[in-house]
Subunit: 306 residues, 2 copies
Amino acid sequence: MPVVHTLGGMMDRIRALLTVIEEGSVNRAAVRLRITQPALSRQMQALENELGGKLLERETSGVKPTGLGHALVKAMRPLVEGYDTALAELRRQARGERSELRVGYLLSAAQSMLTPALAKLRKSQPEVKLKLHDMSPREQIDGLRAGELDLALIGQEGVTAASEFHSAKLCSLRVCIAVSDNDPIAAQKNITLKELKGRDFIGVDEDQVPGRNRWATALCKSAGFKPRFVVVVDGITNVFSQVVSESGVTLLPGYFEKLQHPGVTFVPVSDEKARWDFIVLWQKGLASTATRALVEALKQVAVTLR
Amino acid sequence: MPVVHTLGGMMDRIRALLTVIEEGSVNRAAVRLRITQPALSRQMQALENELGGKLLERETSGVKPTGLGHALVKAMRPLVEGYDTALAELRRQARGERSELRVGYLLSAAQSMLTPALAKLRKSQPEVKLKLHDMSPREQIDGLRAGELDLALIGQEGVTAASEFHSAKLCSLRVCIAVSDNDPIAAQKNITLKELKGRDFIGVDEDQVPGRNRWATALCKSAGFKPRFVVVVDGITNVFSQVVSESGVTLLPGYFEKLQHPGVTFVPVSDEKARWDFIVLWQKGLASTATRALVEALKQVAVTLR
DNA sequence: TTGCCGTTATGCCAGTTGTGCATACCCTCG
DNA sequence: CGAGGGTATGCACAACTGGCATAACGGCAA
């Protein structure tokens, strides 16, 4: 039996078998499959060889599946159909017709921008299904890397990962510091970075908000000194506890000014160079129209907030 | 871009892509796949052409999936794995290592044979999982045809379908008739077919028990007359009602003698030629060892009952 | 900068495979 | 026994695919 064929095209032969069994005839199936009957006949032989058992009862009136043939149909038809639909969905997605948009964001940071941008998006592309994920900057970046997010709204933390993805800077916010209510600085309306020289700084866990400490360090260096991080905590609320108990300070993006936290006062930093960039990251490769639309909407919203 | 390839081997290329993404490198993936790097490189190009979008970010240190690439992995990996396991299962089944055995039987007819046979089977192949289906002869045949049964225990009704499947005659039972208690025949110990000449016969629905009427007709013809079916009912219990009310008779396999039904008396037919064959049918093609074992067990049980 | 080493991409050739065509074979029915 | 339906087979050819050699490209170190 010199009918060997490759193991590769086996799925095609399985498809062919499904058609043959549907039609009950190699001849008619061959017509449907746009190949000749001999070719199809040989495919069936090949499939039987590969599986090691007869699949069809050849009768003078056509063909009929054997038990094994039936079993194959039952096992393979759903897989083949799933394969086809998955393929179709991928092709659509490749053409940018992705209907689902998975957005990662940090509620405290992105709220003022994301909400109006989403409203715009819904107006221009109402059929887009949104999945919003409130997650830490680190989780956002990991999500992008793992392909679980299409787009991430992220602050300064994102610049370290910006080269991995497409990115756009949305706006550049002012910066503030958090100090204890008891601290003399708390009474000031403004503060310059220079005034922080020699103060103890509270750092945050690099895993949770990567790059934040580096950003603070860079800012201080531009003001002529090197910050000393006396403690590193994980999570922003713990930062506030430390601010109160240790009377250290920490540099924060400006939107924290609106926050209230017992025992903590936020003081704006007046240095012009002290800015907190807010950026949006999205997957490389062909972005869906929905992704592009949301990025555009975010940019438009950003200019109004500047 | 003249990289076209066939649409056929697409699944292979998807498999290849899965490996490439796992390895993060075309080179290493090529090693795992036992092909050269250029070949694999071209496969990836082909896949991207077929899908209409980039799947990989080529970087100097290797490759990284794009969003589309990630989506493909998420959609296709389970399908590919399902396909492989299904294929393996089919191959095992083709080798006769089927662990499940679906048996169709008619409780009233097969009980005396099936129970001991199953006991034998359990002793010789304890790991076989059994699925027993009590169903009418017609349902059994349909089940075999649809591949939902591996084996059917069926009476005379099965002979019409015997050519479609493998079959073995298990035993040949004596025949009896059912008559009303009031009928003079009811007092007899035996009866010959000839004595039934001129009597009204009760037939059964051809859909439920195909071939039964033909069997009765053939028997009567061998005794020199043609039975007259005054009524055809569906289901054996209705036959008994008719036997009582219409004082017709009906030919039945011998195992009914053990039954009790108010107003009905069963009288054995003494003709030597009047026999009711009991057969087992199973799927054509390679039967599993379990199937063969059960057939053997049934045959052995049958000889003890003869 | 230059050279080296890693990566992926491309040109070309040969082996293999799957297909179509023509035809053989087999069965059933008239 | 021939006609007409089915499936299988012999054969030649086009096409795809893989291997080899090599290009192109980017990073890194001297």
